[in-house]
Every structure is written in structure tokens, then in C-alpha cells.
């Protein structure tokens, strides 16, 4: 279970509070108006930004002060999810060891992961020689070999077209289901949330609310969300 305990995040004049829990193994969307602090919330969970108050807990363990790499988390950012100077296989391999050294067994895991995301035989290519969707798949293959129980997506597929984005999100949801991972994804598109996330955390007016069923929330949005959705 992921728990945000009396969390207070402050950035200049911006303040965000969160006090909520998310059951392990669930898929949840983080939705809210832009500037509400969705990315900031993910960055605090991932360890890129320190809260001024409160704790972040995973399965009862306090991870508030752990550096990003020591947390049980794989994160995909809005951009720059791959190193352009490394091959696809090297990029995936970094999920196993951060120093580019790989054993025979590691090689096998890397090529298995690439096959799972549909990129069999693409290991020697550099990101520049891959399409946007393929680059996303390489990043997902790395998430796969990282074997972390919590996956955070900060809109990594926002630059892709609608059909491709839906395809990638389905793939992420499948991978999360297969590995039993918990998935938390920022989205500004209610269709994405309805598609793969049964639960939604609404971030608005300085507060991240506890997860609630996505369909019910979107069918009956509170005023702050309704204004954002525009219906």
C-alpha cells in the first residue's frame, strides 16, 4: 500500500496537501487542472522533490528521505526517458545495473523484455533510429526489467497521437497486471483514465483527494473538476 501521510508540499507560494492511501496492485489516474500540482505530487513520491511536512510510506515503510534510485519505484517522465547516446539494449540494461556492465543472464532479461514490448531485434538501435512509439516501448522494457512494485507515469506518451497513446497505455496496464505492480499515472485526458484506471486521485485547489472510482467521479464531477473538463 502506498500511503501519503499528512503530506505538505510547498514551492514558493504554491502549496499542495495530500493525506491518502492507495491499495497495492491497483491502477490509479491522477487528474486535475494544469498547475494543480499533479507532476509535483509524483516527483515527491519518486524522491525528486522533498515535502516540507509529512511522510511517504510504501508497505508501511517510510521512504520519505530515500534517494530516487533506492525507492521501490520506476518512473517515466514527460520527456527524456532514454539516453540518446546509448542503444535500446543499453538503455534497458540500465534498469538492471546503472553502470552499463551486463552479464549473460542480464542480456537474456534485456532481450526478453524487448520482445515482450514488441521490439524483438531492435536492441542495437539508438533512440534516434526509433519512432516515438518505439521509444516509449524501450522505456517500458526498462520498467519491466527494473521489477519495481510501483510505477509512476508523468504523461510520458503525451506527445504521441491518440491511437498510439491508447495502445501504449494498454501495454502499460497489461505489464502492471502481469507483474502485480501498482500504477499511478498523471493524465489530463479523462478518456485515458476511464480506459485503464478504475480509481482516480483528484488534484485540485491545493489538495490531492483520496482515490475514488473513476467512472463515478467523471460522470458526476465536483465543480473544480467540471470547470476543467468543460462540460
Amino acid at each position: 500500500m502506498l500511503t501519503l501521510e499528512s503530506l505538505v508540499i510547498r514551492q514558493d507560494t504554491f502549496v499542495l496537501r495530500a493525506d491518502l492511501s492507495l491499495q497495492a496492485g491497483t491502477v490509479a489516474a491522477v487528474i486535475g487542472p494544469s498547475g494543480a500540482g499533479k507532476s509535483t505530487l509524483l516527483n515527491v513520491i519518486a524522491g525528486f522533490f522533498a515535502p516540507v511536512q509529512g511522510r511517504v510510506l510504501w508497505q508501511g515503510q517510510d521512504i520519505t528521505t530515500l534517494p530516487p534510485a533506492k525507492r521501490p519505484i520506476s518512473m517515466l517522465f514527460q520527456d527524456n526517458n532514454l539516453f540518446p547516446h546509448l542503444t535500446a539494449a543499453q538503455n534497458v540494461g540500465l534498469g538492471i545495473r546503472p553502470d552499463l556492465r551486463r552479464s549473460q543472464g542480464d542480456e537474456q532479461r534485456v532481450s526478453d523484455a524487448l520482445r515482450r514490448v514488441g521490439l524483438d531485434g531492435y536492441g542495437a538501435r539508438k533512440p534516434g533510429a526509433l519512432s516515438g512509439g518505439q521509444q516509449g516501448r524501450v522505456a517500458l522494457a526498462r520498467v519491466l526489467v527494473q521489477r519495481r512494485p510501483l510505477i509512476l507515469l508523468d504523461e510520458p506518451f503525451a506527445a504521441l497521437g491518440p491511437a498510439l497513446k491508447a495502445e501504449m497505455l494498454d501495454l502499460v496496464a497489461d505489464l502492471a497486471r502481469e507483474t502485480g505492480a501498482t500504477l499511478l499515472m498523471v493524465s489530463h485526458d479523462p478518456f485515458d483514465a476511464r480506459r485503464i484506471a478504475p480509481l482516480t486521485i483528484l488534484v485540485a485547489e491545493g489538495t490531492a483527494l483520496p482515490p475514488q472510482p473513476t467512472d463515478a467521479l467523471l460522470d458526476n464531477p465536483p465543480p473544480s473538476l467540471a470547470a476543467y473538463l468543460g462540460d
Binding site: 534510485a69 526517458n81 534498469g95 546503472p98 553502470d99 539508438k126
Partner: protein, 521 residues
Amino acid sequence: MAARPVPLGRHPAGPWAGWAAATLLVAFVVLPLLAVFWRASGASLPGPADWSAVRFTVFQAVLSAIFSVILAIPVARALARRQFPGRSVLITLMGAPFILPVIVAVLGLLAVFGRSGIVNQALAWIGLPPVQIYGLHGVVLAHVFFNLPLATRILLQGWQGIPAERFRLAASLGCQPRDVFRLLEWPMLRATLPGALLLIFAICLSSFAVALTLGGGPRATTVELAIYQAFRLDFDLGRAAVLSVLQMAIVMLAAGLALRLSLLDGFGRGMDRVPRRWEAEQWPLQMLDCLVLLIAALFLLLPLGAVVWRGLSGLDAVPIQVWRAAWVSVVMALSSTVLTVAMALALAHLALQRRGVEALGLLGIAASPLVIGTGLFLLINPVSDPARWAFAVTVLVNAMAALPFALRVMAPVLRDIERDFGPLADSLGMTGLARLRGLTLPRMRRPLGFSAGLAAALSMGDLGVIALFADPDRATLPLQILRLMGAYKMDAAAGAGLILLVFSLLLFWLFDRGGRQDADT
């Protein structure tokens, strides 16, 4: 969207490396300065000859800065508004004097403007009296040769900074060239000129090799040259120390002023774009620009061509000592390149956390090589024979001199790398050596190669501190050329000059190219 997150306790590389480099830098600059002050306090006050050196130093630097910048205005304007084949070659060439050994340029200028040079031969042919290159105008001429390209590049950047849409707007309003100058170009120049003037003024203040070869005598001696003379000819360490303090005060003042206004930004970055300039599309202006560029190219290329031409015929006369000196110079250049790049890399990492570090790198420029050399001599002399330390001292001083440029090139790139890929590397646990090998070095290949090339070429051509320390047996190639010139063996000097030119350009080219090859973007 909220501002970018600040990472939690991130240490991309062991900060100890940066601190070690910073400490070495400060110690290496500050300790000699303290030694100089300590020695100077016991010595007599500056005499009339010293004050006249100060006056000459400032005067020639003012003239050099004014001429370089004023002449650069039409050249930069022509480059900014004309697209023609060879334009990028010409701009690249504008960067060449920066890595050109001073002594080679002096050889070239002598071949063109010297007593039996091309210009005087032409003057004699039409029956006019010859011109003299030695003295104030020779020093200024050489400084303009070096700094006209620098000024041109700075001003060209200013021109490139004016959005193309403004010129389009001006054209749609029917602006004539005079109006475009008043509306768009003059405001840019007013913002750019003071910085360019001050930078070149500051550079020319610590002129040594030019003053040594083309100046001299009581009426054309810079403070740096006076330090050298007090040291080498009179062995008056007290007076050398007093002069060092004077020199430091002058350069610090000018460098401080120049820093406020800009810069060190003369190289690199997008000069390929030429916006369409409707108002300048008329043949008199096209002819004018063509003529300006032709004269500028001749002014820069003729001396270089002369070095190659005379050097080729002088190669036979080159004595064996020259080749030995070339070997010494190459080893020295490579050593100080390694030192420069390592220190710049460490300091660039430190600068991620503390912005002030970048300014620290400028210490290497603010304190002149001869002042540092004097201080080191004072420190070493009581303990050991300074001539035995000539190699190490020269390598260090050269590394310090190249460091500000390397840092200026590398620090912004490293900052971009950390901004773009730092979070990913953090989330994957890439720290220390793994981060250096997996992220930093591969992505920094271009600036690393360029900095290394710069450091190697600068060190290869340096004629500064080695002149203080070296004994007759050990010499660098520039020093060997100076000795050949002093002995009036001009053929051998020309041959050696060509060798030096080739080595300097070759080292730069090799490193720079190494950084470009297979560099992913």
C-alpha cells in the same frame, strides 16, 4: 504547471573532485601572488621607467581595442547580411587567430609589413619611403590582427541576435539602409560595443610576446615585458615583483569591468543563419560588403600565407634543436591539455551547485602568466633550482590559462545534460563513475574535444612563463623560434614557425574532430 522540481540531495559526481580542482586553482594563483607581494613590499617604489611602461601598456591597449572593434563593424555587418559560398569557411577562419601561436603571427606580419616585406617592396616600387613595423604601431597592428576576428565574431553574434522578422517589418515599412541602421543595428551595437571594447582592452593589457618581438626600448615596453626584462636582464627580483603588482592591478580592473558587461562568448553557436535583408539588396552595398570582406580576408590570410611560403623554403635551414623543442612542446601541450580538461570537468560539476565557481576559473586570466611565473620563481628559488621546474611550471601555467575557456564551454553543456537527463540518471541510480561513463562523457564529447583542442593549441604556442624559466638546453618551440629570430636566422625561424603552425592546428583539429566523430545529438 509548477516549476521544475529541485532534486533531493543530488550529487552527480563526487564534489570532492571539484573542490580539489578549485583548491589547486586558488593555491596555484594565490600563493605566487602572496610571494610577489611579500617580495615587493621590501622593494623600492615604481620609478619613472615603470610608470612609462604602465602608460604605454594602457595606451596601446586602448588603441588596439578601438581599432579592432571599429574595423570589425563593417566586416561583421557584411557577414551578417550576405550569404555567399565560403562564408562559413571565412567565419571558421575568424576563429583561427585564437589558436594561432603569437610568434607565428609575428613572423607572418614581419613578412608582410616588415622591412623587406611585401608592403615595403610595393611602396619602394612606386617610389614611396618604407614603413616601420617596430614600435607602437607594430604592437597595435599585431593586436588588431589577433582581435579583429574576435571582435567580428562578437558583433556578428549581436547581429544574429536581431530577429529576422524585424528586418522583414523594416522592409515592409520601406526602411532604407540608414533607417535600418538607426532602428535595429545601432541599438544592438550600443549594447554590444562596450563589452567587446573592454574585453579586447583587457586581453591586450597583458600582451607579452607581441611587445617582446615588435616593441621594446624605453618607448614601447609593456609592463609584462618590463617584468621579463627586470627578471632576465637585470635579475632584479624586487623590481619584477613591484611591476607584477602593478600589472595585476591593471588587469584585475579591466577584467572586472569586462566581466560585468559580458562574455568570453566569441566561439561556437549558430552563425549559419542569414536573414533576408531587403534594404541591402542593391549593388553599391553589395560591392561595399564584397570589398570589406576581401580586405579583411587578405589582412588575415596574407601573413599566414607568408608564414607557409617562407617556412617551406626555410625548412632546410631548421637546426636539430628545433625538432627537439617541437617534441618538448608537444609533450607539454598534451600534459596541460589533460590537466585543463580534468580540472574544467571537475569545476563544471562543482558549478552545478555553486554558480560562483565559473568566475573562479577566470583567475587564470586575471593573473597574468608572467606574474604567476615571477611568484613561482620566488617560491621555488630558495628551495631548488627553478630551471629544473620549468616543465612542470609551464604545464601548470598553460593549463590555468586555458581553463577559463574550457570551463566556459563545458559548464553550460553539463548544466543542460543534468537538466535533461539528471532525473532519469537519478532514478536509475547512476552515480559516480557509472554516471560519468554512461551519461556525462558520451554527451560531452563535442565540448570536451573542442576544449582539449583549444588547450593543446594554446599551450603549444605559448611564449610566456617559459621565457622566464628555461635554460639554454631546454626550450619550447616558440622560445626556440624567438632565439633564432634574435640570432637573425630568419630562414630557420620561418621554417620553425611553419612547424609550430602545423603542430598547433593539427593538435586542435585532432581533438576537435575526435569530439565530433560519432557524437550523438
